[in-house]
């Protein structure tokens, strides 16, 4: 919405860039390239500044220089070693830092992933099946869906007979999942377009009001 000179300038830039990006739908062109490069440049610059002021300064510089926590230099040094990746001769040194990071990340993540992505999901498929109401029937569908989908990915036995039927049901089940995913993706992408069109719809009348 244009309310003053500053918003008029910045909104006009935003409108120009919006049209630059949309122009790609017709065909690739220099305007699209300009907008694309601006997005990449601004994101990279913003992130670099953010890493400096929200990462390096409060997490390394201030603890070491202002608080005297010299042991922060150890992870700082490991971080510095990562820069050896740019040298063919010394890139092996960065493996010490990577090993440290991998060790911690794996130690933290693996038990939690097994617990939350495997066991909790397994538990949630162990459901009571009954025919007293729809919930019981849906529970049966969930159990059959999971089993049939797993059978589809079981390649040690040929998909024939009962196995073939289950695998077929499994692939239908997967197709339903992909369909839901596709539908939601369409909704997401259309939402982005709607947002831009709403922005343009607000921009032009407010700019005219401001000029008058």
């Amino acid at each position: 919405m244009v309310t003053d000179l500053t918003t008029a300038i910045w909104n006009t830039v935003a409108v120009f860039l919006t049209f630059c990006i949309f122009s790609f739908l017709y065909k690739d062109n220099p305007f699209y390239k300009i907008a694309e490069h601006i997005v990449v440049g601004v994101s990279a610059g913003y992130f670099a500044a953010l890493l400096l002021w929200d990462g390096l300064v409060p997490k390394l510089w201030e603890p070491v220089v202002k608080q005297g926590k010299w042991y922060y230099l150890i992870p700082g040094f490991l971080g510095l070693l990562m820069w050896t990746r740019f040298s063919k001769r010394y890139s092996w040194i960065s493996r010490f830092s990577i090993a440290f990071y991998m060790g911690i990340a794996t130690g933290v993540a693996v038990p939690l992933y097994v617990q939350n992505y495997v066991l909790r999901q397994l538990i949630s498929t162990m459901l009571p099946v009954h025919f007293q109401n729809l919930t019981g029937i849906f529970n049966l569908l969930i159990i059959l869906g999971v089993l049939c989908s797993l059978i589809y990915f079981f390649f040690s036995k040929e998909h024939k007979g009962a196995m073939g039927l289950a695998a077929r049901v499994g692939i239908w089940n997967l197709m339903v999942g992909f369909g839901a995913g596709f539908g939601l993706t369409v909704m997401g992408r259309v939402s982005l377009l709607i947002n831009r069109v709403q922005f343009l719809e607000n921009y032009f009348p407010s700019l005219i009001r401001f000029i008058r």
Binding site: L51, Q115, N116, G181, L184, G188, I194, N195, Q198, E201
Partner: protein, 272 residues
């Protein structure tokens, strides 16, 4: 070349044009479509509604400006609902291009309700490596965030007095446009047993329903539809509700093209 073969070779730019017209016309000639409330959205609404004034909710604004279209309406509605009920908020922004955008949103909504930083809400801002940040906040917010976004030490903020970690908030609502959401489920819920609800983009929604069914999250707002449901519940309709009518027309056009494409495919195959 038969009609069906020509249909199969339709230039995709005609489809773009049709979608553009389908979006522009309802913007110029607005109309309303009914929005039905799903249990997973109502669950998030009820959670905020049942939170007592003075209690704290953790709101994670974990998206970049590229997901604003779908997620901003959710964040706005939840913040408005919380502030109108005098619920306090701890807000973080762990997506790399999001902290400035989140700050803009917070200052806009807090002004509407005359809420003060440090008293009614605390904006923690951004720290790199969201997985580690989420884990560390489970011990103490002060580990990853010794100061808030504005550089004020957390210990000097009245709202943070006695507030250490996830145990001191009623629950976490993560509005996320990337894989940070995964870490809230895995670390905040999995490790620290915090109550987690999600607001995610349309593309992500289907991936997170298994966590709803397993009880690892207690509610999901999925894409613009979820946002419009929330706006309807809070009785303050905004851009998401407006967007649903446009969405409906655009979807009808997409469905029409899918049908035409499939008819063309099967008929041209039959001819051969």
């Amino acid at each position: 070349m038969t009609f069906y073969e020509r249909l199969m070779q339709l230039d995709r730019r005609w489809i773009y044009l049709a979608i553009a017209i389908a979006v522009i016309i309802p913007v110029l000639l607005p109309f309303k479509v009914p929005v039905y409330i799903t249990p997973e959205v109502r669950s998030v609404y009820n959670f905020v509604e049942n939170t007592q004034p003075g209690e704290i909710i953790f709101l994670a604004i974990d998206y970049d400006p590229n997901a604003m279209a779908e997620l901003h309406p959710m964040a706005k509605s939840i913040m408005r609902q919380a502030f109108s009920k005098n619920i306090k908020l701890i807000i973080s922004a762990l997506s790399q291009n999001g902290p400035g955008m989140a700050e803009q949103l917070i200052s806009q909504i807090s002004k509407e309700y005359n809420k003060k930083n440090g008293v009614d809400y605390v904006y923690l801002g951004y720290k790199p490596y969201f997985g580690i940040v989420i884990l560390a906040m489970g011990q103490n917010y002060r580990i990853p965030f010794p100061t808030d976004y504005y550089g004020t030490p957390l210990d000097s903020l009245p709202m943070m007095d006695g507030v250490r970690n996830y145990d001191d908030v009623k629950g976490i609502i993560d509005i996320g446009g990337g894989n940070i959401t995964e870490y809230w489920i895995n670390y905040a819920n999995g490790r620290y047993k915090a109550k987690v609800a999600l607001g995610v983009t349309g593309v992500m929604t289907a991936d997170y329903y298994p966590f709803l069914q397993s009880g690892q999250v207690f509610g999901i707002l999925g894409g613009l539809k979820g946002a419009s449901e929330y706006e309807r519940l809070t009785k303050r309709e905004g851009e998401a509700t407006e967007g649903m009518s446009i969405q409906t027309v655009a979807h009808l056009v997409v469905i029409a093209f899918i049908l035409i494409g499939n008819i063309g495919f099967f008929m041209s195959k039959k001819k051969k």
